[in-house]
Amino acid sequence: MMRIPLKSGSRFVDKFFKIGAAMAATYVLAIILLIVVNLISGSAPVWQKEGLGFLTGSNWNSEEGRESYGAAPYILGTFVTAGIAMAIGVPISIGIAMFLSELAPKIMRTPLSLIIELLAAVPSVIYGLWGLFVFRLYLKDWVETPLHNMFGDNSVIFAGAPFGLDIFTASVVLAIMIIPTISTISREIMLAVPNSQREAAYMLGATKWEVFRLAVIPYSKSGLIGAAILGLGRAVGETMAVTMLIGNSTGAAAFPTSLFQPGQTMSSIMANEFAEASQAGLHMSALIGIGLILFVVAFGINIVAHLLVARVIKSHEGAVQA
């Protein structure tokens, strides 16, 4: 028999409990504030030295007395790898979401959803390990080398003899990693389209694909874009797999020009160089500065995604009221 207190003495317990809960909730806000403060203070030295040139420069020299740092190649590296990952991953994710929400036979639905969830649960470092010792070799032999042989001499993006540790490999593995995120959310969004919309399309004599095209996609467009942007957020922040596969170049050589060149992203340079960065001098400060830039980028992407999804929910409420 549960003893449930009814006496008024527990009025104070009530207050303490509420305060405790509020404090726990505030902890999150405090942490984020501290993160921002620490990133700014930790990177202040390099901002003082380089100013805004830190964002546009491409030096990467940690020799004492000649230190100079610029994050531009890595910022571009992050966007290029994330961009390619999106170009590959978004269409595949939409296709998977279509299959799971409309076309899959009942028996397939649960095991498939399980597989997608498991893909999401695999740690990044294991993607990196697999990419490094298995997938990279297939990509090199079956995709990169043929592309290079066919187009390498004439085009910039296929130039450079491919060894498999490059922007391309990192981007493809990144695409695989963001597919679970985008497809799961997209599926939920598609399932949220009211059945009455589909019925109207069927009534007009539409095929399954036409029902999708007429009734589901227009209705869920903003939500799907929001899902894609959340995938972008994940791609931008992804570290280990990219670090292990991107080839680790620095300075101006890291500017992404060819798919088959070794590159560097904001997260990978932090992971790669942290161990050797001495705290005397600016090296560590430069790495923290890159952390700050990465934080700003990821935060911005996140806000956009949330605004879009909020707009989807609002517009659906308007539709439902009709």
């Binding site: 409990f17 404090m23 999150v28 993160i35 799971l100 997608i116 993607y127 570290t239 932090m270 934080f295």
Partner: protein, 305 residues
């Protein structure tokens, strides 16, 4: 008014291109199925490779011994890494679970106001933070302050990653409990804190435990924050104020060594890690399925919103 005759006339304009439309429908179905295959193949490959390569390295010695000298014939084991992961998960949960659960309670029971919305928003932001940034933060706040890499720093970083996940899943689980429970309890004169802790929480138990386990699985696999905080080690843990090893970190280090036996160890460690993570994920599904989770859709890293 469109008469019968007019209708027949209009119908003559329909192109009756049905054959083509049905073919397009079939093609789309095929393409979409192809996308699904593209997703399954990598997972299958990862599992196959990890299991085949990893099981070759498995043995009692492997699981319990310390690593041997780099490059030597006796590669030793990954004992410290396993110990480290378990210690870090346990310590992080000590912080992450209480704070996360209380935060979730706040959002669900006291959070229907502007402050609650703000907290919820920033909680979601924190949940999607690049974890390497959290690692740097822990480095600056703990490692630089204490002057050395330590279990504390790693715990701090992992608890931050864990926290928003638990807050969110707790809030969602609590919100699923019908409001009638609360109303009935209040009508009986029971105080709010007791309503929450003794009545609502027990209803939401399943969802909350699931959320906590998923958060644990997530931090078990995190590497980036550990780079900046625990240093890694070839020895078993020596006090909380010293370095420690962890599975994901060891996998990374081993994979970059040019020695075959090191790489083999890396696969072995990967097998241990993936067994840990996947068994939690699959096990959690059975809890949810068995208790017919009332439509609880869990947002994990993969399905995060």
């Amino acid at each position: 008014m469109i008469t019968v005759e007019q209708r027949a006339e209009f119908r003559k304009h329909f192109r009756y291109n049905v054959g083509r439309r049905l073919v397009i429908d079939k093609i789309v179905k095929g393409v979409v199925f192809g996308c699904v295959i593209l997703a399954i193949v990598p997972l299958g490959s990862i599992l196959v490779e990890v299991i085949t390569n990893g099981s070759a390295a498995l043995s009692i010695e492997f699981l319990t011994q310390i690593p041997g000298a780099v490059g030597s014939a006796d590669a030793g084991g990954i004992g410290p890494a396993i110990q480290g992961t378990i210690v870090l998960i346990g310590m992080s949960s000590l912080i992450g679970v209480p704070v996360g659960v209380m935060g979730g309670i706040f959002l669900s029971e006291y959070g229907d106001n502007r402050y609650g919305r703000t907290v919820r928003f920033f909680n979601d932001v924190l949940a999607e933070f690049p974890t390497i940034v959290i690692g740097i933060f822990a480095f600056v706040m703990i490692v630089l302050t204490l002057g050395n890499f330590s279990v504390w720093a790693g715990t701090f970083a992992l608890s931050i990653i864990m926290l928003p996940i638990i807050t969110r899943t707790t809030e969602e689980s609590l919100k699923l409990v019908p409001i009638t429970y609360r109303e009935a309890a209040f009508a009986l004169g029971i105080k709010r804190w007791a309503v929450i802790t003794k009545i609502i929480l027990s209803q939401a138990k399943n969802g909350m435990v699931t959320g906590i386990l998923l958060a644990v699985a997530r931090i078990a696999g995190e590497t980036a924050p550990l780079i900046f905080t625990i240093l890694g080690s070839s020895q078993f843990m020596d006090g909380f104020n010293g370095p420690i090893d962890a599975l994901p970190l060891r996998i990374w280090r081993l994979s970059s060594l040019p020695y075959d036996n090191a790489v083999a160890q890396g696969w072995g460690a990967a097998l241990v890690l993936i067994l840990m993570v996947l068994s939690i994920n699959i096990g959690v599904r059975y809890i949810v399925l068995r208790k017919k989770g009332r439509g609880l859709k869990l947002r994990m890293r993969g399905g995060a919103l």
